[in-house]
Subunit: 207 residues, 2 copies
């Protein structure tokens, strides 16, 4: 993995959550709360995980992931784009790890979200070409689909985002072009510390 | 469930996939392909499920769901909005059920997607208020987040969508208001057969 190698070389301490290798559970269920429920009569996942977080009663896999988030200055999410979004296993990471009390707690959301001072970067590959994902293209500007992810999730938690890193249609280009994509990614990582977050306003997405 | 009751009353044949009750698997893995792989050297989920679909070698849970889709004139997706999108378990349904060959097959996508002549309706509840999800509101127009779902998934497969049915912040309103929400939904369902699909162009989402 290019990013692990490159960032380690720079002296960064890198932690990887390989969700498939971990067989990470994507489903948000009662199992995420250890022990008794706050309100066993009417199960409300958001309320129960919030209460469990405060009591230290979230399931171990969630506590582990939250520790990694807590320690991170930068989170890189690497994935293949599935249906204009992240694969379900990664969506499950968002659904289950970013619980109220840990990542946000009204009114601490958006600019005052609890994970402010952290950065995120979405790095992904697509099936469709750059032309399909251009403004006016059949799949629309790729930024449209970044709104729920970058604004709805990250900005909501106070996380600032660096520009996304997008490799268009690696499946359909030559081996040489694929190598160039990896080299470009490594190049970008070398100078990542100089980058400023994007201005996460609706204009960035829909201008 | 209001929709099952109301549509059954109208004489519709209704099939329900209660994903949590089914413990539906959201992760897209090699287990979705029964028997040998097309290319065991380099696992490509999209290619392998496409080939397995053609051979009739998808896992049983996927075949069952595809049968339901095949028979349906209208698919109603009911969910609580999680992070500006559907919960991971439902995203996993999209990732795994709508395989190439079944739901789309280049160049049969968008208007000529393989599920054309079907309708979908996204019915969901939110945590945030209507004001937060208004244009200029802190969470942006709710239509922004419908783009990946309605256009990126449904339209891509040729499915036309009816206007979404949104219950804003039911957790934070009175019991009476919640009852009114259910009555309004039942009312809408009574006349659903008269509705025309929305014009699924970028203008609907971002005008």
């Amino acid at each position: 993995m290019v990013a692990v190698e490159e960032l380690s070389k720079q002296g960064c301490s890198v932690k990887v959550s390989d969700l498939y290798a971990m067989q990470f559970e994507p489903r948000a269920t009662r199992n995420d709360i250890v022990g008794c429920l706050h309100n066993p009569e009417e199960f409300n996942y958001g309320v129960e995980t919030w209460e469990a977080y405060k009591r230290g009663d979230l399931s171990n896999d969630l506590i582990e992931e939250q520790k990694k988030v807590q320690e991170a200055d930068l989170m890189i999410f690497q994935f293949p784009l599935y249906w204009f979004s992240m694969p379900a296993i990664m969506k499950g990471w968002m659904d289950r790890v970013l619980v109220q009390g840990f990542a946000h707690e009204f009114p601490n959301c958006y600019d005052s979200g609890l994970l402010k001072n952290k950065l995120a970067l979405f790095s992904f590959t697509t099936g469709g070409s750059k032309e399909m994902y251009a403004k006016g293209g059949i799949s629309g500007d790729i930024r449209y689909l970044l709104w729920p992810i970058q604004h709805g999730i990250m900005h909501f938690c106070g996380v600032k985002v660096l520009a996304p890193h997008i490799c268009f249609a690696p499946e359909y280009v030559s081996e040489e072009k694929r190598k160039e994509m990896l080299i470009a990614w490594a190049q970008r990582l070398k100078a990542l510390w100089k980058e400023e977050p994007i201005n996460c306003s609706p204009e960035w997405y829909f201008k």
